[in-house]
C-alpha cells in the first residue's frame, strides 16, 4: 500500500454493508434453511447422541476407564448429518500510551460463536455466526461469518454459494494476488488470526481438470477491507498533517462487481499458480475532487494479474509471488487523487531451525509505476512512500509443552519507510475447551506518516480467553 493510499485510508469511516448485500445474505439464508427443513429431519438425528463405544471385553479392560465417558461423538450406527459447535470468548486490550481515539481500549468484547452444518446428499450447508458485544464500538452486533451452500453440480466441479472466507497466494500476512477482504482492525487489535480474513459474499466455482485447479470467484458486490478509520485506531491525515481519529470517515460505498480467478497445479511437489482479478482496490485509494461526491474517499477500479511458486528447498520451503496492479482509473499515474499502478514482489523461505522452533523470512517489494508523475502531482510529496517500498518480515514460532504452548514472534520492518511492527504472542491451550492467549502489537517509525509509523500510538497489549464447545 503506498502512502497516498494510506493517507486516503485515513479518512475512511466504518464499513457498513450496503442494504443490497444484506438482502442477498438473508435470502440465501432463507433458501438454505428451506433446503434443510425439506430434508425431513429425524428428531433423533438432530442432537448428537452420546453413545458408549462398543468395545470388546479385552479392549474395555485396558482402556474403558481412561477414555471415561468420552465417546466418538456420534452414533456408531448412523452418523448425524448435523454438526453443532462454537466458542465463547472474552477479549481485552489497551493502548500502552495515550491515543487520540475516543477509547483508550483497543479490545473489550464478549463474543459467542455458533456453527451449524448440515451434510445432505451431495451438498453441505454451513452457517457460522458471531454475536459480539463490543465495548470499544459500544454496540451489540451479529456477524454472519459463513452462510453458504456447497455442492458439486458436476463430477469435477465444486461450487460454494454465499458468504465465505477465501484465501489464496503464498505470503504470510502479506497479500499480493489475494484481493479478498481483510480485517486489519481485528489483526491490529489482537483478535484470533482467523479474523484477519473477512468473509465475502460470493459464488466460487472450482473446476478440477486432471492436475489443474481452475478457481473462479464472482462477487456481485466486493467486500472491502476493514481498514483503519479512526473508530478503534488512529492514523495519519495528510490534510491535518497529524495523527487523527475522526468519528466519521467520509466514504462512498461504491461496492461494484469483482471477478477473481486462479489456475493452480502441482508438478513433482512444486506448486505453480496464475492469478487474475477485475474489480476494485479493497481500500479507498481514491478521492473524488469534484461533483456531488467531492471530498469522499472511494474504491477505484483495479485489475490485477500475477503468478506464484512454492517448492521445497534445502530442508525448508521457498515461495515467490508477483502481482501487477493496474489502477485503470489512473493508468498514466498523473492523478494525485487515485492510486498509481504497482508491481508487487515477494520471496519467502521457511525452515525448522531446531526441534519445535520454526523460522521464516520474507522480502516484499512494492514498486510504484510512473513515480515521477506521482511525485510531481502529489499534494504532499514529502510524505509519499518511496518508488520501491521494501518490507522484511521474520517469523519465529516455538511449540512447547506438547504443543499446548505456542510462542510466536512476527516482525515487519521496512528499511525504506524506516518503520516497523512487532507482533509477539503466546497461546496456551489448557485443554480441548479452554485457551488463553496474550500478546502485543507494537508499532514504531521515524515519521508520523509512514505505513506503520502512523500507527505508533496504536501500540497495544491484549489478552483473550476462549471456551470451545
Amino acid at each position: 500500500m503506498n502512502k497516498r493510499q494510506r493517507a486516503k485510508l485515513s479518512s475512511t469511516p466504518g464499513l457498513v454493508k450496503g442494504p443490497r448485500s444484506r438482502a442477498m445474505i438473508w435470502s440465501i439464508f432463507g433458501l438454505m434453511f428451506s433446503v434443510m427443513l425439506l430434508q425431513n429431519v429425524n428428531a433423533t438425528e438432530v442432537a448428537p447422541v452420546a453413545s458408549q463405544l462398543q468395545q470388546s471385553a479385552q479392549d474395555q479392560s485396558d482402556s474403558q476407564d481412561i477414555w471415561g465417558d468420552d465417546d466418538w461423538g456420534d452414533e456408531q450406527e448412523e452418523a448425524s448429518p448435523w454438526l453443532f459447535s462454537g466458542f465463547a470468548e472474552a477479549g481485552f486490550g489497551a493502548f500502552t500510551q495515550h491515543n487520540v481515539t475516543d477509547k483508550q481500549q483497543s479490545l473489550a468484547e464478549l463474543r459467542g460463536r455458533g456453527e451449524v452444518s448440515y451434510q445432505g446428499e451431495g451438498y453441505v450447508v454451513t452457517a457460522k455466526g458471531d454475536l459480539l458485544a463490543d465495548g470499544v464500538m459500544e454496540q451489540l452486533e451479529f456477524d454472519a461469518r459463513e452462510l453458504n451452500l456447497a455442492f458439486s453440480p458436476l463430477q469435477n466441479t465444486d461450487v460454494i454459494l454465499g458468504r465465505q472466507v477465501i484465501t489464496w497466494g503464498t505470503g504470510d500476512y502479506l497479500f499480493l494476488n489475494d484481493l479478498f477482504a481483510k480485517d486489519w482492525q481485528s489483526f491490529f487489535a489482537g483478535r484470533d488470526d482467523a479474523y484477519l480474513k473477512a468473509p465475502n459474499d460470493s459464488v466460487r466455482v472450482m473446476q478440477y481438470v486432471k492436475n489443474i485447479t481452475f478457481d473462479l470467484v464472482y462477487s456481485p458486490e466486493f467486500t472491502p477491507d476493514n481498514f483503519i478509520t479512526g473508530e478503534r485506531f488512529s492514523f495519519y491525515s495528510p490534510q491535518a498533517m497529524t495523527i487523527v481519529a475522526p468519528e466519521r470517515f467520509p466514504l462512498l460505498e461504491n461496492y461494484g462487481e469483482q471477478y477473481a480467478v486462479r489456475v493452480a497445479t502441482s508438478i513433482k511437489g512444486i506448486e505453480y499458480a496464475l492469478y487474475g482479478s477485475k474489480g476494485y482496490w479493497t481500500t479507498p485509494t481514491g478521492i473524488y475532487v469534484e461533483g456531488d461526491n467531492a471530498g469522499l474517499a472511494y474504491f477505484p477500479e483495479l485489475h490485477t494479474y500475477g503468478a506464484s511458486i512454492r517448492t521445497p528447498l534445502a530442508s525448508g520451503l521457498f515461495n515467490g509471488e508477483i502481482a501487477v496492479y493496474n489502477s485503470v482509473e489512473d493508468s498514466r499515474g498523473d492523478n494525485p487523487f487515485i492510486a498509481n499502478d504497482q508491481v508487487r514482489l515477494l520471496f519467502g523461505y521457511e525452515q525448522e531451525l531446531v526441534k519445535d522452533l520454526t523460522g521464516a523470512v520474507q522480502f516484499y517489494l512494492e514498486h510504484t509505476d510512473n513515480y515521477d508523475e506521482y511525485v510531481v502531482n502529489s499534494l504532499s510529496p514529502e510524505t509519499q512512500a518511496e518508488e520501491n517500498r521494501q518490507v522484511l518480515t521474520v517469523r519465529l514460532t516455538h511449540l512447547s509443552k506438547r504443543q499446548t504452548l505456542t510462542s510466536s514472534l512476527f516482525v515487519f520492518y521496512s528499511p525504506t519507510d524506516q518503520d516497523g511492527y512487532l507482533k509477539p504472542s503466546m497461546t496456551y491451550r489448557y485443554n480441548d475447551n479452554w485457551t488463553l492467549a496474550g500478546g502485543a502489537n507494537v508499532f514504531w517509525g521515524e515519521q508520523d506518516y509512514s505505513f506503520f509509523g502512523q500507527q505508533q500510538d496504536n501500540t497495544n497489549l491484549w489478552l483473550r480467553l476462549r471456551f470451545n464447545y
Binding site: L53, F87, S315
Partner: protein, 263 residues
C-alpha cells in the same frame, strides 16, 4: 502433526498378514515385512481414529479424525489424507501427505477458518503429531533406509530386532528394540533407548483385529517413560481395497473432504 499421522497410518496398516516364513529371515527381511504389514496393507485403506493424550498431571486431550490412504507402490510412495472432526478448534482441519521413500515427503495442512492451504516443510519428522506422543514418522512410517538392523533373538512367536540410526543426530534416541510378531510381522512393542541404555519411550500394541485378511492394529499406546505421559490411539471402521481414486488425494479434498469415502 506429522507424527500422529504416521503413527496412525502405522497402526492402520498392520493389515498385511505375511505368510509365516522360516527362521532364516535376515533382520532386514523382517523389517521389510514389518514395514509392509504396518503401513501398506491392501492397496488402499480407510479408518476412523481417535487419540487420547494424557500429560504427566493426568490432564486429557482428545483428537478424532478419519484417515484415507492409497499406495502407489508397496514399500514406495503413498498418499494420505487425515481429516479432523474433533475437538472444535481443529474440526475441518485436513492434513495431506505425499509420502516418498527416496526424497522428502510433501505435506499440506488446510486451516478452514482462514481457507488457508499451508505447506509444511518436511524436516520435522520427529515432531509431535497434533500434540500427541506419536511423531509424524510414527504415523506414516519411518523409512527403513534410515537405520541398520540386527536380529537379536527369535522366540517361538516373535523376533527381537535392534534398530540403530545411521545418522544419530537426526533423532532423539540412540537405538530401539522392536518385538515383531512372527505370524503377522506386526511390531507389537517398540522401546526407544538413549545413549545410557535407558528406555525413554515405548510403543505398545494393545489390540489387533483381522480385517479382510490383514491383521490390523486397532488400539495402541505410546508412553513417555520419563514422566509417565502417554497417548492412546484407537481405530474403528477400518476397511481395505476400497478402490479410492487418485483424485481423492488432491487439493480439492482439503476444502471439500470426499464425503463419499468417509462414511
Amino acid at each position: 502433526m506429522n507424527t500422529i499421522i504416521k503413527g496412525l497410518i502405522a497402526s492402520t496398516t498392520m493389515l498385511i498378514a505375511v505368510p509365516a516364513v522360516a527362521e532364516q529371515l535376515s533382520a532386514e527381511d523382517i523389517i521389510r515385512n514389518a514395514n509392509l504389514a504396518s503401513y501398506y496393507a491392501g492397496d488402499d485403506g480407510r479408518a476412523e481414529a481417535r487419540m487420547l493424550i494424557v500429560d504427566q498431571n493426568g490432564n486429557k486431550q482428545m483428537r478424532q479424525f478419519n484417515i484415507l490412504r492409497k499406495d502407489v507402490a508397496d514399500h514406495g510412495q503413498q498418499n494420505m489424507l487425515v481429516i479432523f472432526s474433533r475437538p472444535t478448534d481443529v474440526k475441518g482441519t485436513v492434513f495431506r501427505v505425499e509420502k516418498h521413500v527416496e526424497q522428502d515427503d510433501n505435506r499440506w495442512l488446510y486451516l478452514p477458518a482462514l481457507d488457508l492451504v499451508k505447506r509444511i516443510s518436511a524436516s520435522d519428522k520427529r515432531t509431535s503429531f497434533v500434540g500427541s506422543h506419536f511423531y509424524y514418522e510414527d504415523v506414516s512410517g519411518r523409512n527403513p533406509n534410515e537405520d541398520t538392523f540386527e536380529l537379536q533373538t527369535a522366540s517361538d512367536d516373535s523376533y527381537q530386532i535392534k534398530g540403530t540410526p545411521k545418522n544419530p543426530d537426526s533423532v532423539e534416541f540412540a537405538y530401539y528394540q522392536a518385538s515383531i510378531d512372527k505370524s503377522t510381522f506386526l511390531p507389537m512393542q517398540v522401546i526407544y533407548f538413549n545413549e545410557k541404555d535407558q528406555p525413554m519411550r515405548k510403543m505398545t500394541v494393545l489390540k489387533t483385529e483381522d480385517i479382510q485378511g490383514h491383521t490390523t492394529v486397532m488400539h495402541s499406546k505410546i508412553e513417555q517413560l520419563s514422566d509417565g505421559s502417554y497417548t492412546e490411539m484407537q481405530f474403528r471402521n477400518v476397511s481395505y481395497d476400497l478402490g479410492l481414486p487418485d483424485s481423492v488425494f488432491s487439493e480439492r479434498s482439503l476444502r471439500t473432504p470426499p464425503a463419499k469415502w468417509l462414511n
